[in-house]
């Protein structure tokens, strides 16, 4: 299980870092720029720091990370399990008394939780750092002021929301593709249908978690 977990973490997290860093950097500077210009337009300059923190840490980072991992690893895992099912490889594991949950499912779910959580934190850090570039050119604020502005406004609650949402997203991002792959029929034409259904269910689940978290935060 340790080896499978290591491989899964490598493919889900490490393999995604280069693309992820570029996307986080581009989105970070553009989106924080848009937030700042809108805040300025509507005279909300005093709240820019808390708007950035709430938007980046609580909402954008975990949700965007979960979407990226769903697209990259969710589809791969759904297809992998569906093919294993079709090729009777799951039958082999049963026949040789290798526990499917311990060997196949648990390492993927744990890697999903670790990946989404760690990449969400990374995404938030890169976004906030790249956002500084925009602030530097737009407002001319120095880095020290920007840093202390954000640190002052971050609360423990924000970090807890980021972690809880990331864990929930990570769990769902792996569980639904695994379940969908496991339920694939015995024909090759069932594989695309399984991936399609799995991804639709996954996106609905991700949006549901996002909406629920927004509702909880509004209360």
């Amino acid at each position: 299980m340790r080896m499978v977990l290591t491989k899964q973490i490598y493919f889900t997290t490490i393999g995604l870092i280069p693309l992820f860093t570029i996307i986080a950097f581009l989105f970070g500077s553009v989106i924080i720029g848009v937030v700042i210009s809108l805040a300025t337009k509507y005279n909300l300059q005093d709240s820019i720091d808390s708007i950035i923190i709430t938007f980046v840490i609580n909402e954008f980072a975990p949700f965007f990370t979960a979407l990226l991992i769903s697209l990259r690893s969710g589809t791969a895992i759904n297809t992998e399990i569906a093919i294993m099912n079709l090729n009777k490889e799951l039958n082999t594991l049963n026949e040789y008394k290798i526990d499917l949950i311990n060997y196949l499912f648990l390492p993927r779910i744990i890697s999903g939780i670790i990946s989404v959580t760690s990449l969400s934190v990374l995404f938030a850090l890169i976004m906030l750092s790249s956002g500084y570039l925009f602030i530097l050119f737009y407002i001319g604020m120095d880095f020290h002021t920007y840093k202390s502005l954000l640190i002052n406004v971050i609360e423990v609650k924000d970090v807890i929301i980021l972690l809880v949402k990331s864990v929930a997203f990570g769990f769902i991002t792996m569980l639904i593709p695994i379940y969908s792959g496991f339920k694939t029929g015995q024909s090759f034409t069932d594989i695309p249908i399984s991936v399609l259904n799995g991804m639709v269910k996954l996106f609905i689940a991700l949006f549901t978690i996002e909406v629920l978290s927004l509702l909880i935060q509004l209360q």
Partner: protein, 143 residues
């Protein structure tokens, strides 16, 4: 033996329905049994797997996956995997369905003997329509 098989399920199966795992190489496919059931370290389990592959001079397939090997190598890997399990008996079901070119059955049987150092009971079950494949075979045939 048949009674034992029926009551205890003390056997490892080699058949078309128990294929090798496509996302593991040959060595990993064998080693997984010892890793899971005897909690052997990955390194030791893979060393043992390689020892068995070396016995019949197919250690070159150790790092290859199913799609890069031929049916006879796949069969030997499945056999070694079965030998790694704790079960006393091994049942091979319809060998012609696993091995495409079964012309040299006695060579296969000879290699089975070389690998079977623990003297497990190995039984080949097949249908009467495949009987011709076993003509001149050195092992006893029970109808």
């Amino acid at each position: 033996m048949q009674e034992e098989l029926q009551t205890q399920k003390d056997y490892s199966l080699i058949s078309k329905n128990t294929p090798l795992l496509a996302n593991l190489n040959m060595c990993e496919n064998i080693a997984i049994i010892k890793e899971v059931h005897e909690l052997l370290s990955i390194k030791k389990a893979e060393e043992l797997a390689n020892e068995y592959l070396e016995k019949i001079n197919i250690s070159h397939i150790s790092l290859q996956r199913v799609q890069n090997t031929n049916s006879i190598d796949i069969f030997y890997t499945m056999l070694i995997r079965a030998l790694m399990s704790k079960q006393k008996n091994i049942i091979i079901i319809a060998m012609p369905l696993i091995v495409n070119d079964i012309k040299y059955l006695n060579d296969i049987l000879n290699n089975i003997n070389i690998l079977n150092a623990n003297y497990k009971n190995i039984l080949i079950l097949d249908t009467i329509t495949n009987e011709h494949y076993y003509k001149g075979c050195l092992c006893p045939i029970i109808k």
